[in-house]
Amino acid sequence: MSHVDDGTLHAYLDGELPPAEARGLEAHVAECAGCRDRLEEERALIARADELLGLAAPPDRATPPFRAGDLKPPARLWSQVRVPLAWAATVMVALGVGMYLGSGAATGRRDEAVTDRPADVAAVREPPAARPMADTAAGARVEPRGRHRARSTQAPTPSGVAALERANAARIDTVASVGALAERAAPAPGAMAVSQGTPPAAPPVPAPATPLFSIDSARALLGQDPVALPDAPIRSMRREPAIGATIVVLEQALDSATVIELRERPAAMSGLVAGARDAAEERGRFDSLAPDVSRERAAAKRVHWLADSIAVSPRARDKIVRERNHAVLRSGRLLVEISGPLTADSLGKLLETVKPIRP
C-alpha cells in the first residue's frame, strides 16, 4: 500500500473510513514510520481544531421545550379552528332547538317530546342502517326490507297520538335533518301544521323568543293606547300571535311577589261583546287558543263565581289565591283580560282601574 493521504487519515481518525480500508491503513501505518508520525500529527491537529471550535461554542444551555407557537403554519389553520367551530355550531343548534321547543310546546308536551325523541331519532336512522345490511347479506335481504316497508307504511297513519309524536319529532328534525322533516311532513300535513308556528295546543306561555316591543307598536296593533294599571311598573310588553288578531301582553308588578298580566286585543275583532257574560265568553275565546289550559281556567272560573257569590272559608280563599285567576273587562274598544295570583274579585277591581297609557 502506498502512503496515506491526509484525507484518508482524517477519515480514519474520524471513524468514517470503511472497515476494509481502515484495516489496510492500519497495516500500512504499522510498517511505515512516516505515515505513523503523520497519523499522530493529524490526530493532534484534529484535537486542536476541535478545541478551537469549542472556544467558539454557544453557552451550554438545556434544550428548551419546543416553542410551537413561534410559527403558525397557515396550512394548519383550518384544522385549528375546525373543532372550536364545530363546538360553536353544536351550541347554536342546541340553543335553536331549545328556543324552538320553549316557544311552542306546553310543559307536559315538551316532556313527551323529550321522551319520544330517542325512539323517533332511532326510527329515522334505522332505515339507512338497515339498507347496507340488506345489500351485503343477500339471504337476509327480504326480511329487513319487509320490516322497513312495514315501518314506512305504518308511519303515515294519521292517528292522533302518532301525529302529535310525529309533530314533535319533526320539530326536532328540522334541525337534525330537513329531509326527514319533508319525509314525515308529507304524509301528515296535520302534523306539519302543528309543528309550524305557535301550536294551537300551546297555552299562552310567555315565549322567550317573542320579541319585546314598544308602546308605539302596541298602539299600532290595538288601534288605540294600550291600557295598564296606573302606579304599577310595567315589567314587559310583548305581543303574542293569535288566530285572527294579535294580543298585546303587558306584565305589571304589583309588588315584588305579585305579577299580573294584562292581555289586550281590539274588541271589534271579537264581534259584539258586552258585559261580564260576554267577557266570559270572550275569555273562552282566548282560551280556545289554549285548549290544554281551558279546563283549568274553567275550574278557576267556577271558583271565581263561588268566591263572588258565597262567603268562602279562608282556606278556600287561599286556594283561590294560589291559582291564577282571570277577569275580563271591556275598556273602550279594547277587550282586556287580567290574570294573576290574586282573587278574582281583586283582579276585577284592579281591572276597573286600568287607564290608557298616554304617550
Binding site: 484525507g7 482524517h10 477519515a11 491537529l45 478551537l52 472556544l55 467558539a56 410559527l71
Partner: protein, 167 residues
C-alpha cells in the same frame, strides 16, 4: 409535534444551535433560528428531517447574515459581539477574545471548507455532509483535513498580529 420529529428535536436541537451560532454569533439568535427551523419542519414534514434542518438552518443563517450586514456596515469583526449591559469579568473578556479569534479564523476559510467543518462539528456524518454539500463522500476527509489545518493556522496567526475587519 409528531413523535419522530420530537425525537429529532431532542437529539439535534443543540447541534443545530451550535451550527447556527458559528454563523450568526449570537446564542439567542441561533436558538430563535433553530426553533424556526423546527417549526418549518413541522409544516414540511421532510423525510430526512435532520439533514433538512441543517440545510434550512444554513439558508436562514445566510439570510440573517445578509440582513445583519446591511444593518451594521462599519463593524469590526473583532468587536462584532454585542456589547454586554454590565462590564463582563476578566474571564469573560478573555473568553470573548478567544471566541473572536476563532471567529476571525473561521472567516478565513473558504465557504465550503467552513461549511464542512461546522457540519462535522455539529455531529453530522461524512455521508450526511456529502449529501448536504454536494461533495463526494470520499472528498469529505480531504476537505476536513484542509479546513482543520487552515483554522489552526489562522488562529495562531491571529494571536500574533492585529486583525481588523475589512470595510
Amino acid at each position: 409535534m409528531p413523535e419522530d420529529l420530537a425525537d429529532v428535536y431532542r437529539t439535534t436541537y443543540a447541534a443545530l444551535v451550535r451550527f447556527l451560532y458559528r454563523k450568526v454569533w449570537s446564542a439567542e439568535r441561533a436558538e430563535d433560528l433553530a426553533q424556526e427551523a423546527f417549526a418549518r419542519a413541522l409544516v414540511h414534514r421532510p423525510d430526512n428531517a435532520r439533514g433538512w434542518l441543517f440545510v434550512v438552518a444554513a439558508n436562514m443563517a445566510r439570510d440573517d447574515a445578509r440582513r445583519a450586514a446591511r444593518e451594521r456596515r462599519h463593524l469590526t469583526l473583532l468587536k462584532s459581539e454585542p456589547a454586554e449591559t454590565a462590564p463582563p469579568p476578566d474571564e469573560a473578556v478573555h473568553a470573548d477574545a478567544e471566541r473572536s479569534r476563532v471567529r476571525a479564523a473561521l472567516e478565513q476559510l473558504t465557504p465550503r471548507d467552513r461549511e464542512v467543518l461546522l457540519l462535522w462539528d455539529s455531529g453530522l456524518s461524512y455521508e450526511e455532509i456529502a449529501a448536504q454539500t454536494g461533495l463526494a463522500r470520499g472528498a469529505i476527509g480531504t476537505t476536513l483535513a484542509r479546513a482543520r489545518r487552515r483554522l489552526v493556522e489562522a488562529f495562531e496567526a491571529g494571536g500574533k498580529g492585529e486583525h481588523v475587519a475589512r470595510g
